[in-house]
């Protein structure tokens, strides 16, 4: 199957306008005949479901939580980007586009990123009209702050709860449509499989998590808005329930999975404290506006801090290494996430970490508090400081925070074309679940932007291009494909329940996560990846022989839910490792130790970059990897979409 990205003709800045004009329309009387399934109720799914229902389509929306308001978009803290240029500091659609392409290390699709930048402004208007209480200046107009990878202030925010406020706006729009009858909502319902009829996505199989009932739902198109796969690492900043099941089941039915090795390790999280730990907590990137990151210059000082013999305040300024400010003077503490994370790892690998485990660096507000006063800092970051104090048990107004990188976001996802449709006709993928906009690294405050752009503004136009080719309601649950998919799901559950082994689901999840973090975390190499590919098979085989799930399948059974998700992570993890192995270059969040600049490189000698920076190989790897599933124990087949750069010329990504 060939990969046709369906990028419209014409200059980049005209593509979306032209595409909207060229897209098919469905008249209002006919829209109500089409049914669309939306899986997931976060920013992408919630906004898509609400907007499609407003347009007149029949929508069925599914989420695993007890309410659509709980989706993990809610945990996003810092903000949402938009090229409004309210600050008059030189921002524009063009600049947001370029920052995002460069931030993604030239591994994303130009046309999609340009469209994202264009619609970014509409999102702020929409959210404000819904009553989202963005931060304001005293004059009553909207305020902005800066985020990593940008030298303009374009981030709109609602204290440290921007994701919550945007999601509530979106949830309220969704509830309004539920009340009007446009959306039928299914909470505590998990998608277990995708149903294909003649190669087209025409429905899903779900499990009612309260009764255990397996049901099928038919529709004219299916939208997956199911988030990322960060929980393959076990410990991440994702919610406990985040999983890859919907996307991976679609992959097993033929949808291509793109760039799974592009995983984002966020630099500012609270360090791991013990084996019992169930998740990691992010400290918003916005803290880097005023916080300065450092470790001691000497290993001796670092050791003294770890042993409790010295405190941060005992280290005078001349003995501190503000390493981001030193290495990247023009971006300083606001260097992009992948770069800031690797720098923290380097400092700790060098023996200069300050947490007890050795894996932690300081994020220090001392200078900001001296300059602005404690009250200003409290107004800006109060809830984040409080959150830190609750978890770490230390007062960050007096002692610097201790942070370390943690898995946060996944740029890879199901392959989609410009219409956000996968290679399977009818299957559309939105938000973090697709691959298209962030390349190999996502900039801060861009995830909320993408989820809402896809749901509010892109899919409502592009879905008609597919639906107009379909006779509405032509496929129902009576079709044989639904019956057989349902049977497969029931058999898989039966199989899981019948193992009755001796080890818990969490045991396997942790084993898998530790392996992937160790061999495919902030740095990867060929030998390590090959070793991990073999090991993951061993863990998977053992899981299917020895996992223990108590209770019954026909009722609320949280171990069974987890087991289904972990079973998919055990297969997906291998794909992630294989992708990382195949991509023999470093780019963004994918850092292959073999591919970094050394002092013999001309680019280092001429001062364009520094030793240890990621080295891309554009001549060989300027493409999107799209993996085709060929069976659990078979090697997947790689398809490539070449990346074409018309406006942004790939260059060394410098933040010096």
């Amino acid at each position: 199957m060939s990969l046709d990205s369906k990028i419209p003709e014409g200059p980049l800045s005209q593509k979306w306008t032209k595409h909207k004009m060229d897209s098919k329309l469905i008249n209002p009387a006919n829209k109500r005949k089409y049914k669309v399934i939306v899986v997931g109720s976060g920013l992408a799914g919630g906004s898509a479901a609400a907007t499609l229902a407003e347009l007149g389509y029949q929508v069925e929306c599914f989420c695993y939580q007890d309410s659509p308001r709980r989706a993990h978009s809610i945990a996003a803290q810092g903000g949402i980007n938009a090229a409004k240029n309210y600050q008059n500091d030189g921002d524009s659609v063009q600049r947001l586009f370029y920052d995002t392409i460069k931030g993604g290390d030239f591994r994303s699709r130009e046309a999609n990123v340009y469209r994202l930048s264009e619609v970014s402004c509409n999102i702020i208007d929409q959210a404000t009209a819904q009553g989202v209480p963005f931060a304001r200046e005293y004059g009553g107009l909207l305020a902005n702050r800066s985020f990593g990878g940008a030298q303009v202030s374009r981030t709109f925010y609602a204290r440290g709860q921007t994701g919550q406020q945007l999601l509530i706006g979106c949830y309220q729009a969704l509830e309004k449509e539920i009340q009007k009858g446009g959306v039928k909502m299914h909470t505590r319902t998990e998608m277990m499989d995708l149903v294909l009829v003649d190669g087209h996505a025409k429905g899903i199989v779900v499990r009612d998590m309260v009764t255990g009932e397996i049901r099928t739902h038919a529709a004219d198109a299916v939208l997956l808005c199911t988030g990322g796969y960060g929980n393959v690492f076990y410990l991440s900043t994702n919610a406990m329930g985040c999983n890859v099941m919907a996307a991976f089941k679609a992959h097993k039915r033929g949808a291509y999975f793109s760039n799974p090795c592009y995983t984002q390790i966020h630099p500012t999280c609270i360090p791991v404290s013990g084996d019992y730990q169930s998740k990691l907590t992010l400290m918003s990137e916005s803290l880097r506006n005023d916080g300065r990151i450092w470790v001691p210059k000497s290993k001796e000082d670092a050791a003294a801090i770890r042993e409790g013999k010295k405190k941060a305040s005992d280290i005078p300024d001349e003995d501190r290494d503000y390493y981001l400010e030193r290495k990247y003077p023009s971006f300083g503490n606001l260097a992009p996430r992948d770069i800031a994370s690797r720098a923290a790892k380097e400092a700790c690998d060098d023996g200069r970490g300050v947490a007890k485990s050795g894996l932690g660096v300081y994020l220090d507000f001392r200078d900001a508090i001296d300059r602005l006063g404690e009250d200003t800092i409290r107004a800006r970051y109060g809830n984040l400081f409080q959150m830190y104090e609750k978890i770490a048990g230390e007062n960050p107004y007096q002692q610097p925070m201790m942070i370390y990188p943690a898995v946060h976001y996944t740029m890879g996802g199901l392959w989609v074309d410009y219409n956000l449709m996968s290679n399977l006709p009818g299957l559309h993928v939105l938000g973090e679940a697709n691959f298209s906009d962030h390349g190999a690294n996502r900039l801060g405050a861009s995830a909320l932007m993408q989820g809402l752009a896809d749901g509010y503004f892109v899919i409502p136009t592009t879905i008609a291009n597919y639906l107009a080719t379909q006779t509405p309601g032509s496929i129902t649950e009576e079709h044989e494909a639904f019956n057989s998919a349902k049977k497969e799901v029931e058999e898989r559950i039966q199989k899981l329940m019948s193992i009755q082994g001796t080890k818990t689901v969490d045991y396997y999840h942790r084993e898998l996560g530790l392996l992937i973090w160790d061999k495919c975390g902030m740095a990867r190499d060929k030998a390590g990846l090959e070793e991990a590919i073999e090991k993951v098979k061993v863990i998977r085989d053992d899981f299917w022989k020895n996992v223990f799930i108590p209770g019954e399948a026909n009722g609320l059974n949280m171990e069974l839910e987890k087991a289904g998700r972990v079973a998919d992570f055990l297969e997906f993890g291998e794909l992630l490792l294989r992708d990382a192995h195949q991509r023999e270059e470093s780019c963004g969040g994918h850092f292959r130790s073999e591919h970094q600049f050394t002092d013999t490189d001309a680019e280092v000698q001429s001062g364009k970059t520094q030793v240890g920076e990621a080295k891309r190989h554009d001549d060989e790897f300027s493409y999107v990897s799209a993996w085709e599933f060929t069976g659990v124990d078979n090697e997947p087949v790689l398809h490539k979409e070449e990346l074409i750069f018309e406006e942004a010329q790939p260059s060394i990504r410098s933040y010096q």
Partner: protein, 251 residues
């Protein structure tokens, strides 16, 4: 530390349920309360038993999914946090901890500590939104809103819909939840056109769901993990009265 837990176990909605005793052994003081339950569940699983079911998801205090009455108080006696943000360093070795579900007629128990809070969603459906068609919004800066108003709306908007206010109230009233949403939307200029329909719709739905009336004890405010003020209830009462008066005059 070692603890004794008295945990509410209930197989399903129809089961009468009862308190069971568990020993939580060697719990690290850095662990969170839910991680303590994870450890206990692991011990239960090792004995081949069904683990304690409880709702949770983000584990950072924002999704509103976690609940639990801890020693009789929703989200524990610690102020301004959710259950998932409670840490074991707040307990002492040898403590006995009672863990029960949020209890209210409008929050039926699903299993163990898991309750059904979909009544909150239906209250939002009855008016907890601003009806704005996607794509029809004016430029975000075309309507200036003073910082004071924006901040006050924000304070009310921080509600996470956890239901602690209901669980703490002896009448199982949802007034803090309803008033927070009404207050968030009513004071913004964008929310003004639907103000009256909103308060009448939400209050009537609240009554229909079986939540009780407010008798001004303000237990809700004391347990709210987002410290939402009970002043919002006074605002709601005023707005509701005015809306009803207008409705009766115009009908």
């Amino acid at each position: 530390m070692n603890l004794t837990l008295k945990v509410w176990r209930q197989k399903n909605a129809n089961d009468p349920g009862q308190l069971e005793t568990y020993q939580a052994k060697e719990i690290p003081s850095e662990a969170s309360f839910l991680e303590m339950l994870d450890i206990v569940n692991n011990q239960i699983l090792e004995q081949g038993q069904d683990p304690i079911h409880f709702d949770h998801d983000c584990r950072e205090g924002i999704c509103g999914m976690c609940s639990l009455n801890i020693n009789g108080i929703p989200h524990s006696k610690e102020q301004g946090i959710t259950t998932c943000q409670v840490h074991m360093r707040k307990f002492s070795d040898g403590d006995t901890i009672w863990i029960e579900p949020f209890r209210a007629k409008a929050f039926p128990i699903v299993k163990d500590l898991v309750v059904d809070r979909s009544s909150f969603d239906r209250i939002i459906q009855a008016g907890g939104y601003i009806d704005v068609r996607t794509g029809s919004a004016p430029d975000a800066n075309s309507v200036p809103i003073s910082k004071e108003v924006a901040d006050a709306a924000f304070d009310a908007a921080t509600c996470i819909g956890c239901g602690a206010c209901v669980a703490a109230c002896k009448n199982a009233s949802a007034m803090l939840f309803v008033s927070a949403k009404a207050s968030h939307l009513n004071q913004l200029p964008q929310g003004a056109p639907e103000k009256e329909a909103r308060v009448i719709g939400m209050v009537e739905q609240m009554d229909e769901e079986g939540f009780g009336n407010c008798t001004n004890h303000f237990e809700c405010e004391a347990v709210c993990p987002k410290s939402i003020s009970a002043d919002n209830i006074a605002k709601l009462n005023r707005d509701y009265l005015l809306a009803k008066a207008k409705q009766s005059v115009s009908s």
